[in-house]
Amino acid sequence: MAVVFKKTDMLTDAPLHYCPGCTHGIIHRLVAEVLEELGVGDKTIGVAPVGCAVFAYNYFNCDMHEASHGRAPAVATGIKRTHPDACVFTYQGDGDLASIGTAEIVHACTRGEKFTTIFVNNAIYGMTGGQMAPTTLPGQVTTTSPYGRDTDHCGYPVKVSEMLSTLDGAYYIARVSVDSVKNVIQAKKCIKKAFEYQLAGKGFTLVEVISSCPTNWGMTPVEALNWVREKMLPYYPLGTYKDKGANE
């Protein structure tokens, strides 16, 4: 019988716990497919965050660490410095990476740590029930910004890709989205490029993936994807922010 589709071996058979319509599942699959295509499953060590992806260690079919909140880049540093030939990645959300773990990601980046970070930005704290995130848009209603994010009171969203791309240690920084087939294909290309650079021993690589959170945004999955296009992508423009490899 001809096989027309097969789930990547780099995902386990554990059922994902993510909410219906959440795009974490797509992002997991893209990362897993890239790891399989690159043939690095036996030498990959991943680091899961605290947040919605806290159980990622159950899903990626490779050696995994579960880190404390925001510390995944420090944990990945310890792993990569112990096993320089391993393929190491962190998978982090916006609260984890852009709030409590800001110091860790900035310094891993500026040191040029040779691992790959998949940064999932859905502009909200999902796991804890929809609180304001560092990436919550101005005016966006969350459970801790019930009148909408007031930038006069609590400041502006952190634009992680723009910020990190200013650091000399950043080798490859790209922002992608998974709201459409076209963007999913582009996202996979960028994720693959980031891992290829890592495997070639280049510097720090990060792919920011704009994601949706229908549950905590209070929308249907379709409405949520429309909100990504109408609200998030104008604030967080897609594109490659740093690609040292393109100039080499």
Partner: protein, 352 residues
């Protein structure tokens, strides 16, 4: 036997390297900077990794990553920095990862001072971070012991898959003494649980999250069993003129060293004084104190703190004899004369 004149902090660093430590993650803080400085010089010479982290929080999480992937790894800091490491230490304890943490204690609380203190006893022996866990805590009283305990700490950590803490103070870290260094270790235990990449085998997960309370209870109970085993096998103390003593002085580290001089002087005056010096602060040598309480008239705990270990001594003695306390704090070091006077006062039934 070749002797080297070494500063405590540097001796600890060299002992770690001889024990096979090849990963060190640290952050500057006085009075322990000679450890990371020494490591930054030596690690590149031997193919190891010294990395200055952006914070103590990051340093301990680098330790978590390296320990989980099989490294012999160490970090060092001093009191305020150890406070910052507590989150990571709790995770490391739950994930049962071997590592060595050095605390060269300074006066607190808060930013405190930079002179020697023993006021981190509670933090180091009673948890410090969240949850039910224990560190193996070794307290050297000389540079030679700092070397020997650091060397041993890596084996203990591997044997029990548990973090081991070397509790020194500014005196131990900064003092220079002649030391005999051990042989470089060449044989290490296998760590089949470590993440090294699957390499064709089943994948490994380093984790401290157990969302099902029934499972988490079992994890806790298994940890407790391990701690009981450690207490059974590894509890250590030194007894000095304690057999016939009317008064037992309880002290560890630098303070114990000073107390020995006080005891000699007390004996010269005809007062039967002795010392019990806990070497493992956890597991605490309760039995030694309990037995001594069967013949001694009283005890005096001396610490560079406002009275922390004294609680464990009182628990061990369980009311059999009075346990008095004398302490100097904030970086002040008790003199042998002060300890002697305190002991005489205790013997008279006075309270220090």
């Amino acid at each position: 036997m070749e002797k080297h004149l070494m500063k405590g902090a540097e001796a600890i660093a060299e002992a770690a390297i001889l024990a096979g430590c090849r990963q060190f993650f640290g952050y500057p803080i006085t009075p322990q900077n000679q450890i990371p400085e020494y490591m930054s010089k030596r690690m590149p010479q031997i193919g190891g990794c010294f990395l200055q982290a952006e914070s103590e929080v990051s340093a301990i999480n680098m330790v978590y990553g390296a320990a989980g992937s099989g490294a012999r790894v160490m970090t060092s800091s001093s009191s305020p920095g150890i406070s910052l490491k507590q989150e990571g230490i709790s995770y490391i304890a739950c994930a049962e990862l071997p590592c060595v943490i050095v605390n060269i204690v300074r006066g607190g609380p808060g930013l405190g001072g930079i002179q020697p203190a023993q006021s981190d006893y509670f933090q180091c022996t009673k948890g410090g971070g969240h949850g039910d866990y224990r560190l193996i805590v070794l307290a050297p009283d000389s540079v030679q012991e700092a070397v020997d305990f650091t060397y041993k700490a890596f084996d203990l950590a591997d044997k029990y898959r548990n973090p081991v803490l070397i509790l020194g103070d500014g005196m131990i870290g900064q003092m220079m003494e002649p030391v005999v260094l051990p042989e470089a270790k060449t044989e290490f235990v296998d760590k089949p649980w470590a993440t090294t990449g699957r390499k064709g085998k089943d994948r490994r997960i380093i984790n401290s999250l157990y969302i099902d309370p029934a499972v988490l209870e079992q994890i806790n109970l298994e940890l407790m069993k391990k701690y009981e085993l450690i207490a059974k096998n590894e509890t250590a103390c030194e007894e000095y003129m304690a057999d016939d003593a009317d008064i037992i002085i309880a002290a560890y580290g630098t303070t114990a060293r000073i107390a020995k001089k006080s005891i000699k002087e007390l004996r010269a005056k005809g007062i039967k004084a002795g010392l019990i010096r806990p070497i493992t602060l956890w597991p605490f040598p309760s039995e030694a104190f309990s037995k001594a309480a069967d013949h001694a008239k009283c005890m005096l705990t001396v610490e560079m703190s406002c009275g922390q270990m004294v609680e464990d001594v009182r628990l061990a003695v369980n009311g059999k004899v009075p346990v008095d306390f004398f302490g100097r704090v904030g970086g002040m070091i008790p003199s042998w004369k002060e300890i002697m006077a305190a002991a005489e006062n205790t013997l008279k039934g006075g309270k220090n």
